[in-house]
Every structure is written in structure tokens, then in C-alpha cells.
Subunit: 376 residues, 2 copies
């Protein structure tokens, strides 16, 4: 039987509300365009060339992919402008060369030795590759240190390598996810812009051409709009949003497009057990806090607009969510459905081969998560 409404679905099922996705795409695009920024969404959240097309049709200049295997899926689907804001290694040069036959590809580097190896590989293949230098603006993951006296010289040195075409500098303010206030987010975005401009100025003084200053993270995106410097926005999560983004003020509950439909399978005095475990919700925490649980349960399965504070997802096993039932609240029976807002939507879509596109309670179709698990 083809499911017609969400009540017909087997659980657990990952639902994606198409109206909310489209509203999120339109809103981010309008914000970027209004401020003269190019929008290049990170596709890691939806991992779907279909949704990437919606973003491109709305005005995005291209998409980002994390890994080459993800980019290969999008190139296969005809998406022809792909940026990889990830320090992929020159041992993959053969794959980049093959991608260059059918798409505009840009990568990032944060190490001159690696950049030299990329240059040598591209020379050997007779190709030229667009690169941006990744700058660490405070997350302390990848990226060159912008306060190093060598920062500008390193960027310029990348720009002078044969077979590489330096496009600019790029950052990801992942530390925004730990911000505790709007002011803190604003200050992270301001510092990000300042550091990128500082590196760009030093690089230019060394003779480099810096066309692009690219920033990307959904929590800081609204503050990136008005900061001086950035030319490109690369948020990913905004297409679905999630509980974390609501806590960060980037979205409201009614913006969240990805939810998990699950069923109660066991009932006890103090708890119910639901069939969406870590294989569906993931064990990603809510901003590092195990006490905050593994998602929020909505009051009703139809609208997904109000949270039931009396049901707390306190523990996950692989196939079980243990939901603590607080006093004076409903205690769902086995077979009853619940709808859950996950802590982190990107990892949820990575766990399923397909999501179910819905319009309210109506099931539209199943959408393959085409680039799911493409980590290499």
C-alpha cells in the first residue's frame, strides 16, 4: 500500500516538510541577495541533488560538498558548480581531475606543503584547480592561524603556485554552536569578518588576488549579512533546521522541516519506549549537554509546532528511545505515534536511505538521500 498520510507510514520514518524547506530556502536566499552576498549552501544537510536544485533555482550560485564522494554524487546528477570546504588530500587528485571534466570544482587548503602537492598533481594532469585558503577564525579545527605573521605570505604563496587558481579565503565559525546569546553570535561573526579581512589584506599586500571571502555556518549566517568583507555565505543546516538551531535563535519550531515519526513499543509507570533509537536520532547531544536529552517530543503528530514538556527523551539505545514521562502529562500507549524534533538534522538524514517528503500530514513521495554515507 502506498502511504497517503503519515498515519500510513511504517516507523521510524524521517519526515521532511516541503513547504518548510521551500520557505527556509527562500528566506535565506532573500537575506543573502538583499545584502549582495552569493549563497552557496552546504549540501551535507540534505545530501540530495533534488533539494540542491531547489536551492539553485532560488538563486544559489552552487553548492558545497564535504567529501569527494559526495561531490561525485552531485556531479553525476548534473550539479556543475561544487565547492569542497574540506582539506581533501592530493592523493585524490585523480578523482578531482575526473570531476573537472563535468563541473567547476574548488577546494580548500590550509597547508603550503599540501598546496604544493596539489599544484604538482594538477600540473601533471595539465589542469588548473580553484582553491581557497581555509582560515581558523576560532573553532580551532582546520585552517591557518590568521594572527600568524606568516598568514598573508602563506596565502600569497598558494596564489603563486602553478596550476592552482587562488580564489580567496574561507572560514567556518563552528564555535558559534556553543554561543550562549545573540550578542555572542554577533561578536563571533564580527571577529570572523575582521580576521578574514586581515588575512586578505596581508595576502594582497604580498601580491595575491583575493576575489572571495567565504563564510559558512547557519547560527552566524544572520550576523554575517551585515559584516563588512564576506562575499559568500555557505550555511547548510538552514534547509531543515533542528532543535539546536532553535536554541541558537536561528529558527523557530515552525521553521523546522525535518522531524522523526516514531511509535511507542513499551509502556511503564515512569517511561515509554519509542522505536527511534540512535540509529534514527543519532547520539548527537544538544550543545554538549547529555541532560538535555536526544530531541523534543511534539504535543501532537500532525502540526509539529508545540513541544510536550512532559516527555523527555533521556536515553537512546540503537533501536530504543527511553522517554521519561513527567507527572501530569499524557502517557502514550503501545502503538501510539509521537513526532520528534532531533537535536541535529544533518546526522539524521545521514542515517536513512530516504526521507519522506510531506505536505502537512499528506505523504508526497520518498526522496533518496543520494549522498548518504559518502564519506571518502
Amino acid at each position: 500500500m502506498t502511504p497517503r498520510t503519515i498515519a500510513d507510514l511504517r516507523t521510524p520514518a524521517v519526515l521532511v516538510d516541503v513547504a518548510r524547506v521551500n520557505a527556509n530556502i527562500s528566506r535565506m536566499q532573500a537575506s543573502a541577495s538583499a545584502h549582495g552576498l552569493r549563497l552557496r549552501p552546504h549540501a551535507k544537510t540534505h545530501k540530495s541533488p533534488v533539494i540542491a536544485r531547489w536551492q539553485l533555482e532560488a538563486g544559489a550560485v552552487g553548492v558545497c560538498c564535504a567529501k569527494l564522494a559526495e561531490a561525485e554524487v552531485f556531479a553525476d546528477a548534473g550539479i556543475d558548480d561544487l565547492r569542497l570546504p574540506y582539506p581533501i588530500q592530493p592523493s585524490n587528485a585523480d578523482r578531482v581531475v575526473r570531476l573537472l571534466d563535468r563541473a567547476r570544482i574548488s577546494i580548500v587548503v590550509d597547508d603550503l606543503t599540501v598546496a604544493q602537492a596539489w599544484s604538482a598533481a594538477m600540473c601533471a594532469a595539465g589542469r588548473t584547480l580553484d582553491v581557497l585558503v581555509k582560515v581558523d577564525v576560532g573553532f580551532h579545527r582546520c585552517g591557518i592561524d590568521p594572527d600568524s605573521p606568516d598568514a598573508g605570505r602563506m596565502v600569497a604563496a598558494v596564489g603563486s603556485l602553478p596550476a592552482l587558481r587562488l580564489k580567496g579565503v574561507l572560514s567556518h565559525a563552528g564555535h558559534g554552536y556553543q554561543a550562549r546569546s545573540e550578542e555572542e553570535l554577533a561578536s563571533i561573526a564580527a571577529e570572523e569578518a575582521r580576521l578574514l579581512q586581515q588575512v586578505a589584506a596581508c595576502a594582497r599586500s604580498q601580491g595575491a588576488t583575493i576575489e572571495e571571502i567565504s563564510v559558512g555556518a547557519t547560527p552566524t549566517a544572520r550576523f554575517n549579512l551585515t559584516a563588512a568583507g564576506p562575499t559568500e555565505l555557505r550555511p547548510g543546516n538552514y534547509v531543515y533546521f533542528d532543535r539546536t538551531q532553535v536554541a541558537l535563535g536561528a529558527a523557530t519550531l515552525r521553521d523546522c522541516a525535518l522531524t522523526v515519526l516514531a511509535s511507542v513499543v513499551s509502556r511503564h509507570q515512569d517511561r515509554v519506549i519509542v522505536d527511534s533509537g540512535s540509529k534514527t536520532l543519532s547520539t548527537d547531544l544538544m550543545r554538549g549537554d547529555p541532560k538535555a536529552g536526544y530531541g523534543l517530543v511534539f504535543r501532537d503528530v500532525e502540526t509539529g509546532s508545540e513541544i510536550d514538556e512532559g516527555l523527555h527523551i533521556e536515553r537512546l539505545s540503537e533501536e530504543h528511545a527511553t522517554v521519561r514521562v513527567m507527572s501530569a502529562t499524557r502517557r502514550p500507549d503501545p502503538g501510539d505515534r509521537v513526532r520528534i524534533l532531533p537535536n541535529h538534522s544533518c546526522v539524521v538524514s545521514n542515517l536513512v536511505d530516504e526521507v519522506v517528503l510531506v505536505d502537512g500530514t499528506r505523504v508526497l513521495e520518498r526522496l533518496p538521500v543520494a549522498a548518504r554515507g559518502r564519506t571518502w
Copy 2:
């Protein structure tokens, strides 16, 4: 190019050492057989009918699956004795009926109302279904309360339902994963056996026939062997083991069959960034402790037998592991390989479409994780 050794593999790659798997299978089977226990491994760890066959050929009486979608994959592959130690719901009766055409199927219940609905559904289909009653022996997830005055009566009531064939009682001592000593594990296993025998005795006094007392969890398996009562062992993780099982004394490093091969992609003063993020290692913690990090890094990639204490996987993003480099240790360069023992192997195999079977450093073949993501 077909990879001949692990050095030829793209990363991240999930490696499964076949010799270690076979040693783990033989050892658990020998222990169970020596104590007169039937072994019915949980297939959730490997999710592969190929490895299930190895377990059956070694002497297992059947396998366990968590969900019907997993069982459907194993039945499709010809595995014909499947137990689902999960309270699947009667709304799935159509699927159980289809499975009964090609396999012996048993399920668990922990609620009389649900059992009555199963009985009605099986009556309507003209079939009989084997059931066990799940007993909560201290994990407080699913299961009836063994100390309830109604426990024995509930089991007997299930046994008297038409179209259900009561096989016995079943438990999962998941709280063993939090044990801090051998003594604590031994005491959990002893209490598990005592509670199951207590429920079985009450049920028998109410007229029920209890053939099977089934226990299942890798940490407590070695203590279940000598306890009076159990007739069946259902461990799953023992086929691969992982960092958690080593900490629990269930395995040594040299027993761990599943590891992750990854590459350094970025290098800094205090850290290196490795290409195995939460999409490969999962964010599952080491027994609830975020400070323990997300896996252990081996000293060398070839043998997987000694840990490099100077490299600490302190943070995961989806595609990045941030590895803190302690003083006086090696600091790998971009492109260098590392080999990682994950906190939890079951969830790692659920993240990849295939694992790479290896014999030491030699690549044998790719093995599909056939039941990956089959959560419904």
C-alpha cells in the same frame, strides 16, 4: 584499481579482520557449548547474512534481529531461524505472517494487551507465533517487572492465548555496560538469572510451560555461562568487540575485529584533524563520558594491538575528528594514516554500506552491511 592492502584503500574505511572475527565466533560458541547453553547471536552488530552463516556453521541455533526490516534481509538470504528480542507491534502482523512462510520466527512481548492483539492477528491469519515474555532485570528499558505480584500471571496469560506459543522468558542486562568491576558484572548476571527463574517459577505455578530462559549481552555473557537457569545466550557485540568491551573486561585489544582506517587532513601545533568524523565513528560516548573521547588511536596502522596514548580524539564533527596531540608523541602529517578502535562497533557498521574484510594488512573483499539502517 582493486585495493590489495589497506594502504591502497580510500579513507575513511571500516576494516573487519576476518581472523579475529572467526576467533571471536569460535570462542563464544565453545564457551556456550561447554556450559550446555544454546548460542543465538544478535546480528545487529554485523548486519550481514554472510557473518551470520559463519556463526551458524560454528554451532549457533539461529540469530536475533532487532527489527522486522532486519529480519526480512536475513530471511531473504535464507537464514531460517530468527528471533526478534524487541517488542515489535501487532500493526506489523502482515510482515510477520510473510516471514513465517520462510523462517521460524519468535518475538517478545511485555504487555498483555499487545499480546492479545498479536494473538488476534495470528488467529485471523490462521497462524501460530512463538513468543517470549521480556523481563526487566534492571536496565529499565522494556520488560515486565519481575517483582510485580502479577508477573507470573501475566506470563501464564500470554501462554494461554490462542495462536501464540509461549516459549519462555527473555532479558537483556544492558545495565552491565555501566558496571565498574568484574564483581559488579558477576552480580548483575547472577541477579538476572535469579529474577528470570523467579518469574519462570511463578508462571509455571500458574500452569505455563517455560522451555527457554534467554539472556543476552556481551559484557555479562561470560558470567551467564555458570549461572543456574539460562538456556540461551544472545550476545551480539562479541563478533567485533570494541573499546567499550575492552574496558568491561570482555575482550583484549587483540580481539577487536572492527577498526577504522583514516587519514590526517590538517596539522596544527596542538592537534591534527583526521577524516573520520561522526559519520564514521558515531558520537556514541565511552560509557557516558565525553572526556574519554571518541575512540583510541593505535600506535601503528598494521597490527592494531597497541594504543598511542599521546593522541586523544577529543571532538568529532561530521567529517572531522579533532585529535589532540600530547607532548612528546608523534605528530602525523597530512596524508598519514591512523587506525582507530571505536567506542562502539555496532553503530559504526550501521554507518557504512560495506566494510572491508582484511587479513592483517591484506584486503580480502568488501562485505555489504546488508541490513544497514533497516530500522522499521
